[in-house]
Symmetry: C2
Subunit: 360 residues, 2 copies
């Protein structure tokens, strides 16, 4: 997982235009909506009457990632995926991506190529066209800014949830956060003793959730095939608690979330125990899972329940009610965006729900 680079070409040896040429050669165009990709003042798209979706996310070294354990190719992949996920969260299909990268002179051309390779790989996997970019110097560190376009016929907003709608989530939660804790622990151990080998065996799934997350391209089709249209949707970047609060605020509803219904991978549960935190905390406050959180009408209960990739974790309530977490022992407490406060001092327990493993 920790890549090595063997050659080092100074960026200054290529110049700005030489660098762009090298980074952007062989970038294919796959979407019919892409008229003109990289190489002009702007890309040109033709969406032929479909609605266009646009989003942007920044990833900053030392804030969102630590290059001592985050391979650059993975970083490029993740930067693309977090944006692609935003388009799925609107019930859309991602179509075009542009990327801005600022790097200090500690990075060589090969480092930029790895980031681009990761972005290209994600674009290929999700059928997105890489149509523009800006590469520039930075006095300190690495900054990645990705913008994404997508299209949809039926956008699903955060604001559409109604009282009694079912609250649903795809996949399992908290894995990306436990992967991060694991990487941080091994980094500290390595700093204390550089001769040691990082002990990451058995945790491939959690590491992949952190280092190479995937966006839920499949949920739209699963719901469509089941005849279900979500009423509100958001993706999980900041943690389940924070995203639920967004849905409640925008939809003007309350909510009851059942702790025991939160889907957790068995490894998430095991490692949470090692770190002496309640597994639900990783799901509620960890973030970066890039699963889809959405609401559906109660009449769709059977249809949604039949989809293995989806868990029903609660229901929306009147706005007079707050957004609540109902614990396993039935204690009702207001959900907070931090989540930590309520659960951090709680002893971890056996987690019967930690078997919904979602390997993709």
């Amino acid at each position: 997982m920790f890549e090595k680079r063997n050659t080092r070409t100074e960026i200054s040896s290529l110049g700005e235009f030489g660098l762009i040429k090298r980074l952007t050669k062989d970038i294919p165009i796959n979407n019919p909506s892409t008229v003109k990709g990289i190489g002009d003042d702007a890309a040109v798209m033709d969406f032929k009457g479909r609605l266009v979706l646009s989003s942007q996310d920044l990833l900053v070294e030392g804030v969102h990632f630590d290059l001592t354990y985050f391979p650059l190719k993975h970083l490029g992949y993740k930067a693309a995926v977090v944006n692609i996920s935003d388009i799925y969260a609107m019930n859309g299909v991602p179509t075009q991506l542009t990327a801005g990268i600022a790097v200090s002179n500690r990075f060589a051309v090969e480092a930029l190529e790895e980031i681009y390779d990761g972005m290209k790989l994600a674009c290929k996997k999700y059928n997105v066209d890489f149509v523009g970019g800006d590469t520039t110097a930075s006095p300190h560190g690495l900054f990645l800014s990705v913008s994404i376009l997508g299209e949809t016929e039926n956008p699903v907003y955060r604001s559409g949830a109604k009282e009694n709608d079912l609250l649903c989530v795809s996949g399992d939660l908290g894995g990306a956060y436990m992967g991060l804790l694991l990487l941080e622990r091994e980094k500290q151990a390595y700093k204390a003793n550089p001769d040691m080998q990082p002990d990451l065996s058995g945790y491939d799934y959690l590491l992949e959730r952190q280092l190479k997350p995937e966006a839920r391209a499949d949920i739209q089709k699963l719901l469509h095939d089941a005849g279900v249209k979500p009423t509100a949707m958001i993706d999980i970047s900041d943690g389940l608690a924070s995203e639920i609060l967004h849905l409640c605020t925008e939809s003007k509803t309350g909510c009851n979330l059942y702790e025991e219904k939160i889907p957790l991978d068995i490894k998430t549960g095991e490692l949470a125990k090692e770190f002496n935190i309640a597994p639900a905390v990783a799901a509620l406050s960890g973030g970066e899972d890039y699963e889809l959180l959405f609401t559906v009408d109660q009449k769709d209960y059977e249809a949604v329940k039949a989809i293995a990739e989806i868990s029903i974790i609660g229901h929306m309530t009147d706005i007079g009610n707050s957004a609540n977490l109902v614990s396993k022992d039935g204690v009702v407490a207001p959900l907070t965006a931090q989540g930590w406060d309520a659960l951090l001092n709680k002893e971890p327990q056996d987690n019967n729900n930690a078997d919904n493993k979602n390997e993709e």
Copy 2:
């Protein structure tokens, strides 16, 4: 021009969502193509069959701007304008903008508000909707990443110039660069003697070109009204020489550019003399003028000549010819993206062309 701030609210006192709420309140929607602006996973647009344009630019502290003399509101304005200019350079109309900002903790909420105010002001002036953004921490300095969408019926690419087409440019060139040299000189003087007052009087135009540039919203209509369709177009961000080379490369042509035809403001000429550089150097290599460089068919000579805002500065040639600069004394030399080498040691002369002042 040098603003002062009197209050300081720590970003941490608002939290991420409080900050976003404060920054994005009162952001209007003006374009019919904007269906949903800030506040969801993505913005939603409906371009009703028109072509969509997309571009992205990064501005990095210490690389693209120096906050010792660059007011934050101006910075936000400029970040928006450089992107808006990319859309005009495609023969388009800018419609939506998203912005990513990463700041270190030396910046207060008020600093972010000033940046946003500048972006909002530019959006208002150019009738662009501010539809999304991402605000995050940075370990060092300030990073601004703006993405823009626009629409067009007839995109004009860099690749459409033909042999014998006339090479044209809007406004005057080199002013932004001379403004930068002036600000840098006063900064050095201030560092040597902090009691001094910066001497910037009489140079309002050059300072405005650097600190508050405008994009050429007017050229499209002027050409359209004159019945002229440009064959190729680009905006001047890196300097005239570099942009001409882009047009030649993409259009597979050569070019003759006449030094004496390059439009220069009289103040640009005066200050260039003070700095002992040829005024044309500021135009060729300075950049950041955000004027439009374009080619038109020879038959449009009279129509273009009649437009005061446009100068004809040369013509395209066969690709067998290189891109050349023809100096005032008739010397023909290949144009280089640096430009400096050819002209730096040349004595500045009276510049008869330095009267095409374009105050906007």
